[in-house]
Symmetry: C2
Subunit: 233 residues, 2 copies
Amino acid sequence: MQALYNLLAEKFRLTFDDTELLETAFTHTSYANEHRLLKISHNERLEFLGDAVLQLVISEYLFALYPSKPEGDLSKMRSMIVREESLAGFSRDCGFDQFIKLGKGEEKSGGRNRDTILGDLFEAFLGALLLDKGVEAVREFIQQVMIPKVEAGQFEQVIDYKTRLQELLQIHGDVLISYEVTSESGPAHAKEFEVQVTVNGKVIGEGRGRSKKAAEQEAAKKAVENKVDPSCI
Amino acid sequence: MQALYNLLAEKFRLTFDDTELLETAFTHTSYANEHRLLKISHNERLEFLGDAVLQLVISEYLFALYPSKPEGDLSKMRSMIVREESLAGFSRDCGFDQFIKLGKGEEKSGGRNRDTILGDLFEAFLGALLLDKGVEAVREFIQQVMIPKVEAGQFEQVIDYKTRLQELLQIHGDVLISYEVTSESGPAHAKEFEVQVTVNGKVIGEGRGRSKKAAEQEAAKKAVENKVDPSCI
């Protein structure tokens, strides 16, 4: 496991006090079952804990990011971020997949690249981190590893730029934001829309897309990226 | 809201820095909808956050209490504790039901005693507490308000005393725990069982119950309460 310790130290500046916890997080049930006599712990219990701390940290993040989104929208976004495939992706991004201990059968059948296994591994790692270093360390890790991807739009559905723009501009009171289709081209099966977003009559972003909705999102995204100063409109 | 502040200060030694958060936690959607023009916040978003922190704290608690229970059992126990009816009960225990602000219709139809509303209120309160004081304060509050009821067996299914006993006794290695029915009496519709639990041949607890299973749980509970020293058996 020395290579894993090195990876964590170099990439995330993390050193576990209880390395046994870390080993458990990287031990799949199939490996523990194959070595039953050694009574090795596997990572399912840590996954239980990690799932809970992940839900909390992502909830806190979304709650703060969207001060006026209703609870139902926040729940939907959270479930996009914490779903198995997403978490498996984060495991791969971190290089965790090379370190999971699998049983022989599981290894042969491609378990090392299976989303369920890698998603669970990511949660188990967070559970171990919680026990070893506390909830603040988990927040920092998630901030470092997950949030940049969320904010880069890896979860396209998560960032609703129209809402985000509205929230940014409303800091100083109500504003009138409107979206207008300025062009519509192409044949029926491959239409392209161009949309302008204006605030109090001033154009602050433009976007294109295959649907009106997509073009609006794109225009709002541009406006958010343009960092319009809400006090100047 | 002064009465609520007093209650929190006296009963739980809690003073909120951000009392607006606390007011939001105690505002039901029906009240906010009735006063739409005032743009009052209601407690659904805080409930979203409170649900997440509650899940985490209860997960941590169960994880530590049962060092060898599989994840599936822990999940089941957690869901017993955090289900709506349980949380509504905690709201009532805390006296929170008298402070929730409801719309007129909701009040008339008995909303003040409705489990959904009171369960959500409890979660919203935990969400407000998390934002105002951090996760450690939530842990302390749950420890003070919820855990004693859990440990007193209010959630009979939560404390599995047979497992608990096994875990206590196995600290120093494997032991042989066995349960034996010593008496079975009464007519078919009202049987009573008596069970003895022995460890390495020594009786350490006795219990009665309407079923063999209930009597075993009772015997295990007695044994746990007897605080058998695992190094002496």
